[in-house]
Subunit: 288 residues, 4 copies
Amino acid sequence: MNHNTNSSVRLLISCQDQPGIVSSVSTFLHQYKANIVQSDQYSTDPSGGLFFMRVEFEMLEQNFEIDMLRTAFSDVAQSFQMDWRMELKSRKKRMAIFVSKEDHCLLELLWKWRSGEIDVDIPLVISNHPDLKEQVEAYHIPFFHIPVTKETKQDAEKAAIQKLLDYDVDFIVLARYMQILSPEFVGTFPKKIINIHHSFLPAFIGANPYAKAFERGVKLIGATAHYVTNDLDEGPIIEQDVLRVNHRYATEQLRVAGRNVERIALARAVTWHINDQIIVHGNKTVIF
Amino acid sequence: MNHNTNSSVRLLISCQDQPGIVSSVSTFLHQYKANIVQSDQYSTDPSGGLFFMRVEFEMLEQNFEIDMLRTAFSDVAQSFQMDWRMELKSRKKRMAIFVSKEDHCLLELLWKWRSGEIDVDIPLVISNHPDLKEQVEAYHIPFFHIPVTKETKQDAEKAAIQKLLDYDVDFIVLARYMQILSPEFVGTFPKKIINIHHSFLPAFIGANPYAKAFERGVKLIGATAHYVTNDLDEGPIIEQDVLRVNHRYATEQLRVAGRNVERIALARAVTWHINDQIIVHGNKTVIF
Amino acid sequence: MNHNTNSSVRLLISCQDQPGIVSSVSTFLHQYKANIVQSDQYSTDPSGGLFFMRVEFEMLEQNFEIDMLRTAFSDVAQSFQMDWRMELKSRKKRMAIFVSKEDHCLLELLWKWRSGEIDVDIPLVISNHPDLKEQVEAYHIPFFHIPVTKETKQDAEKAAIQKLLDYDVDFIVLARYMQILSPEFVGTFPKKIINIHHSFLPAFIGANPYAKAFERGVKLIGATAHYVTNDLDEGPIIEQDVLRVNHRYATEQLRVAGRNVERIALARAVTWHINDQIIVHGNKTVIF
Amino acid sequence: MNHNTNSSVRLLISCQDQPGIVSSVSTFLHQYKANIVQSDQYSTDPSGGLFFMRVEFEMLEQNFEIDMLRTAFSDVAQSFQMDWRMELKSRKKRMAIFVSKEDHCLLELLWKWRSGEIDVDIPLVISNHPDLKEQVEAYHIPFFHIPVTKETKQDAEKAAIQKLLDYDVDFIVLARYMQILSPEFVGTFPKKIINIHHSFLPAFIGANPYAKAFERGVKLIGATAHYVTNDLDEGPIIEQDVLRVNHRYATEQLRVAGRNVERIALARAVTWHINDQIIVHGNKTVIF
């Protein structure tokens, strides 16, 4: 795993399934002196469905240009009408984190970031409450307090969007940010907002899932990381996990126990997003 | 664990929480020369909620009478207004199994029964289809085919109830029996019918949960064993379990994979019921 | 997943990593009108380690000959000095099962076989005890009782090998067969014998792992499915799983609980072997 | 769960099993106006083994004295030759943390401490390296750097013991402290030192378990929290957990993934110790 990360590239493809895709892609890469390190593919239905592929390769020539490679590949892509992107592993994505008052998901991400487990830049944290300011700034990350009320919501979102543009953010993580984003906001960052919902979706959509879980007497509680769309808690699921509970857990105990599964599911989803392992199609995800 | 099972007794209690319950129960047992082997209790709220208790004890006198002990205990029970029952471990419960065409849950129970893992009698199996007749009879268990159509449903249920009474059944397991039971049927066996639902309830209530799970793109599928009430899939949950899946699973693969989690969750629920480990209160279960 | 299985082929490759392998393989397949359905690869070290690949493809021409395709591919294989095999998905492997007295692993395999979950032929079952004869024959599978004592072990193995050859067996599953096989036997079926060991290897190698687990006071028990080599319980691990236990489990309870994890781990390993998903290298496995 | 914690008491008992223990204990508690909130017991063998019990109760009288209650109970205890202790829930234990350079276990404990998930005081952190000083002091906890070399080990341990005495510590957590403690040190804090070992014990005892796990090709990695004795990695196991891995994990990836299971297993063990849920007997633990 001690690759030369400067020359590592990830190629993600989706298109109609048809013969010759893999052959064309791998021949292209061979011509451009790329060594395929890992390759995954998936067809929804081999007799004519959708085709998804992720290839990780290393350029053997030291001074190659990713943009030249993209231009070269666009011919291959066009012949198969591919939806595709090519990402340089060494270019760190810029991740904004939104929080409210709870710190467990935030701290999980900050800890994994500082320890190098997730290879990302965190240019800023935005919150509708000032509570976590000190903790964020201890990591030398700018913290912006943008309060949200019913009346100021539109302006608050505008201010947040401006910050995200100023800081040139690639994607956004809602780390227990307890606000529903407007369609305008979501539309500005399509497939680029990851939320952690504190239930095993589609069970317990909406507010207070732990109270609902307590009422229903479930024996497992869960958490779901998903991309945000305009349908509340209905976006493409990236990761889910659960935790065993029993009759001794009141709502508060469920909430405390649930933190552990929330932060783990969110951290996995964020890792996969950063590593370009996710392709969204319709309301689902393919995780390579 | 090589107790003398002839003299092993299980006492299950629920009542309003109040001081002195444990003391009274254990003093009673001490007076009657019972050695407490295991004791569990749970209070919903120590400052005045519900109290639940399960005690497993052994009678040191060889020729004691369970009915005499019950009569003696009824005084203690009355003073605390207990809802209670006292069960002889050596008296095997009589379990009826209802099936349709799928055999995995049935076979799991039959295997555990024959291997002695679950200590129960299985006097009969009832099915609305003849398909599993040969398999059941290989275990020397009577198999009754009672077809069910929209028109015959009422008569079919009557015939089934008659069989259950004839065979003196204690409780019923719906091992993937794909029929909804009428309120009359359910009312005849309150808290005595265990169903396995092939989803992680309350997600995907009703028919075709695997098709719904596929549509939603979940990353875990589940199964839920619960007592049957007249609210479809809304009875008290006994056990739940899940299994990791991914984008490669079409509905059919989910269905096949799900079998493994269905049979495991159902077998656990049945085991706990047999061992008198479950107290139902409202729409929830306490599992000791 | 409703492929035409007649024309589905799996190609497994291991060789020294070097540029152009994937390109050559996929170009070859494209030339022969094969549509790649799934493709996985793995390199131990991209800068010059081992390379492993599994490709599943479908031949678009109806009447192709697998042997012709193998001959054609051998040129590609030779140029990269590949260790490789090409398997027709429609050709069912022939699996022999060895048992002693415990039936849970046997029944798990038989149940999955009859339900179509594992796509295999089971021409015979061999046991050193007669106990499971009736159960096996109920599935219309020949059962051979070959007793083994210290004195007769060599002859017994010879008789077993002869049966395996007579029935043209592809691989062998030791489903809790409590005998250690001789180097001669193991050498006759290299990488073709799967054993289930009732512990989380390398913990508790050898006899009585549950007694050892009880002594050590572990909080999880496990099971390990592995290929058999001449080093006891040290062959390449295929699958492992665990189950949570607690202080209430005596050795016997560990043994009973452990059955559930043994049969699940074994069934997964057998499934992967049948589906040509395993490449053994050194003392490890790559599972695609 | 909003008990009046001032008057909550935990009583832990181990002794030879004999009739009347539960009755005597509960009658005693009833006399002293204690309301039993939770009670668990366990007998290794009901016909004459060991008996373990944990009772959590609330004193209804506001101004009771725990020492008076202890004195009163000692008569009951003596008559059954009990090994016992009675702990006031409101008295926070004082936990010292030992670390080296890795921060994940430390941070997990600090986060759970600050969020109130674990109800404990952390008077100091000791390390043989200065690396984590800043992080610890950000939590306003004294950090002591006590370097350890072969030559200075004895003096370093003396200095550490002195600090632990000065700060009146109740127990010690080795949160990836990579030093082996001397018998003198261990003897000073019997059953009061919790270590996290980064493997599923008894597999991979000693140094470099992830390298050994990689060599063996295991499919799950684990972590084990245990009390420290003078037999390396052989003390009573408190908690174990595992994580699924595959052939793509080199030693370094195992090490990174393992962090997640280490911190979770350790945090659970520490929580149980703090809540007086653990009774050590011989080389095992009973967890109530």
